[in-house]
């Protein structure tokens, strides 16, 4: 049971001012590195909460779908340009980022994933693929600067980051669609 400790250490490390300043200084590392790492820290810490409050999770997240929903809402919220801007300007939003992504996205995802059947798992990936393509389109071709804190070039870079991640997810979806694992097992 070391993983919650590692998760906490990761979260604390990400909260250190030099690290958070470095990651937040570039738009794409802010959204595509710091935020996923916060979720990862939550994934690591989930076991602690699952052991501590087993009834809460079995009652409120019986089939995994509520957790999935919560995860998706939090992730969608943090992919808006405005929320990133606010995280940089308002301390309260920054604090919310460091709480919501590990505990309201990472922890529920870890709890939900094993409970979900492959329909929901694939639905989640398809949803995020579409979301990423749309966000990629938004960030690359937006005629205006979307964030006060980041230059247009950074915005375009982030857009291509979304498109390349979406491409990877499409490859994965094609792979799992065409691969019949039962033939190999």
């Amino acid at each position: 049971m070391k993983s919650p400790v590692y998760g906490l250490l990761l979260l604390l490390a990400l909260m250190l001012p030099p690290i958070s300043n470095l990651l937040e200084s570039i738009m794409i590392t802010h959204m595509h590195m710091q935020m996923p790492l916060l979720v990862v820290s939550g994934l690591f810490m989930a076991k602690f909460f699952q052991n501590r409050f087993p009834e809460f999770f079995s009652k409120w997240n019986e089939n995994g779908v509520p957790g999935l929903l919560l995860f998706s809402i939090i992730m969608m919220y943090w992919s808006l340009p405005r929320t990133m801007d606010e995280a940089l300007t308002l301390t309260s939003v920054e604090v919310f980022k460091f709480i919501s992504l590990p505990f309201l996205a990472g922890v529920p995802l870890r709890d939900s994933w094993p409970k979900l059947n492959s329909f929901w798992k694939h639905a989640l990936i398809i949803f995020f693929t579409i979301l990423f393509l749309a966000l990629g389109w938004l960030y690359i071709w937006s005629p205006v600067q979307l964030c006060n804190n980041y230059l247009v070039i950074e915005q375009i870079t982030l857009g291509w980051g979304f498109i390349s991640t979406a491409f990877a997810m499409v490859v994965y979806l094609i792979y799992s669609y065409f691969m019949d694992f039962s033939k190999y097992e």
């Binding site: 200084s25 491409f167 990877a168 097992e185």
Partner: protein
């Protein structure tokens, strides 16, 4: 069949037994023999050119007017970096696929032959302009130096030939998996899968680069984005380097333990090393551009981290290898903290050559880590140090492993045996090669630290005192190069003797087994699609920022230059 997992199905069992008793099928053997013959002819030619170049670089030999230093440099690089490595890797792994998967599928064999002739055709196309002094752009053929368009068209065929072989390997592995449900890919084929995945994905960037260069070289477009082209080149260039390294590593994990009469390292950890190297490799290309302009400091910093990450599986390998040696030697009665080394078969070239290759990777890897570091790279970047570094990694770690493999692989595919005389010749060759490479590469490293530039023919810079002070080191370079030429001649003799003249007999394909009490390897190691997706994500992380910057903030672009 000597893999970890037993085969199932009657046909498969029959095929495997036939493979074991009769050795490789004649058709598969012919394929590997052809690939290996080209590889060793390339080393002969490349070696001769290397000697000319080394002597010329030391100021000891004047090249004739019709042959200049950069021409020789380009041909030497292409022959050894592209031809030798690609042909050996493919020949070796196709023999491995044939042996561990119960023979190649007829379709796959055909694909490998088509790939063979495409590569040869491409190579001939590339060599013609080099001989005509129209393509003296060196192995690193990125703009703004421009060669004749024919050179690049030749490269396209080489890449297509490599893809043919990669897809052949995938088809063979997939078909085996369907026929053997629930089983792990035999370890050597697992390595082969990793290598071909890297060969395919690593050559996509260079294919894109070459397709943008061709219209530029023809003059259809006036300018090219130099930074994009360099970045695409190194995404391939670095991966290619690591493909040979992974090929050598496969022999260290799978073959060498059997040669010394031991068992191989933990199956799961071995597979993790392969997966880690496949996922993390392509992004390493960036550290070749660490002093390039137009890349911001934070991006360079991130890339230093990503490159150093590749060192981790290598450190795992170093640990694993010495652990296997020690365990095997102790089982044979070896004693003491290091005294066990006496029990290793030092007189067997099949062990000695790969062992020295591994040992060479200790300084070679350390040098690589030094070069990956921003500040240290600035000291050595354009100096002979770098040339010394890749002669140590490729010329020793990789090529000596290939040499060691040839002493059983060639008898195996030729249905002949390694004679004690050739073994002795091999041991002497190994010693000569080691001495030659230490002298040459050592001199290159040192003279590089003193400032002698790479990619530059001999010059005393109007008898400048600093430039003159390099001369003694350059003599050592020439002496080392001469020893290496002797090594090349001995090796090529041994190869063709073993292929055509050695006594007939059966040679075993040495694949070590795992320890008996080892836990079964988990299924997730077989999810190749997932590893490829991880690789794509990592490549995206590495390249999106700089490429968007290079393209969106592009400078006017460069016309083609012919500097020679």
């Amino acid at each position: 069949m000597e893999t970890v997992i037993k085969q199932s199905g009657k046909t498969q069992v029959f095929k495997d037994k036939a493979n074991k008793i009769m050795g490789i099928s004649l058709e598969d053997a012919k394929l590997t023999k052809s690939y290996l013959s080209v590889a060793f002819l390339a080393i002969l030619l490349g070696g001769i050119l290397g000697l000319l170049q080394g002597l010329n670089r030391a100021g000891m030999l004047e090249l004739p007017a019709w042959l200049n230093y950069y021409q020789v440099l380009t041909a030497h690089g292409l022959l050894l970096v592209v031809v030798l490595s690609a042909f050996f890797t493919i020949g070796y792994f196709y023999a491995g696929l044939s042996h561990t998967l119960g023979g190649l599928l007829p379709k796959v064999r055909k694909m490998a032959w088509v790939g063979f002739w495409m590569k040869i055709f491409g190579f001939v196309l590339a060599v013609i302009p080099i001989l005509m002094n129209e393509a003296s752009v060196m192995y690193t053929f990125y703009p703004p130096m421009a060669a004749s368009p024919i050179f690049y068209i030749g490269l396209v065929f080489i890449v297509l030939g490599v893809w043919m072989c990669a897809f052949g390997a995938f088809i063979n592995v997939a078909s085996w998996r369907k026929r053997n449900p629930g089983q792990h890919i035999p370890i050597l084929s697992f390595f082969a899968t990793g290598v071909f995945v890297l060969l395919f994905f690593g050559s996509i960037p260079v294919a894109i680069e070459v397709f943008t260069i061709i219209p530029w070289a023809f003059g259809w477009v006036e300018t090219i984005n130099v930074m994009v082209a360099r970045t695409l080149f190194w995404a391939f260039g670095h991966t290619l380097v690591n493909i040979w390294y992974l090929t050598a590593v496969s022999a260290w994990y799978v073959i060498v333990p059997k040669v010394i009469g031991g068992r191989r390292w933990n199956d799961l950890l071995t597979r993790i090393v392969v997966i880690a190297l496949v996922i993390m490799n392509i992004t390493g290309g960036f550290h070749h551009q660490i002093i390039d302009p137009g890349i911001s400091e934070p991006v360079k910093y991130m890339h230093v981290f990503m490159s150093l990450a590749i060192g981790f599986p290598s450190l795992m390998t170093a640990y694993a290898m010495f652990a296997v040696f020690e365990r095997t030697a102790r089982r044979k009665g070896g004693k003491g903290i290091v005294g066990w080394y006496k029990k290793l078969p030092w007189g067997d070239v099949r062990f000695l050559a790969p062992f020295i290759a591994m040992a060479a990777f200790i300084p070679a890897g350390a040098g690589g880590i030094a070069q990956t570091t921003n500040q240290l790279n600035q000291v050595v970047h354009n100096t002979m140090w770098v040339v010394g570094h890749f002669h140590l990694t490729l010329g020793m770690s990789v090529v000596m492993t290939f040499f060691g493999l040839s002493y059983w692989l060639i008898p195996y595919v030729s249905k002949r045996v390694l004679t004690p005389q050739i073994n002795k010749l091999g041991v002497i060759q190994t010693i000569i090669w080691t001495l030659g490479m230490i002298i040459m590469s050592g001199a290159m490293h040192w003279v590089g630290l003193l400032g002698s530039p790479r990619r530059t023919s001999y010059s005393t810079y109007f008898d400048n005192a600093t430039a003159l002070s390099w001369d003694p080191y350059l003599f050592f370079l020439a002496i080392g190069g001469t020893l290496l030429m002797i090594g090349v001649l001995m090796q090529v003799y041994a190869v063709f003797y073993l292929m055509f003249f050695a006594p007939k007999g059966n040679t075993e394909f040495p694949i070590a087994e795992v320890e008996e009490d080892e836990a079964p390897t988990p299924r997730w190691t077989e999810r190749w699609g997932l590893w490829v997706v991880c690789m794509i994500v990592l490549v995206g992380m590495a390249y999106v920022i700089p490429l968007v910057d290079f393209i969106v903030n592009a400078p006017p672009g460069s016309p083609p230059f012919k500097t020679w």
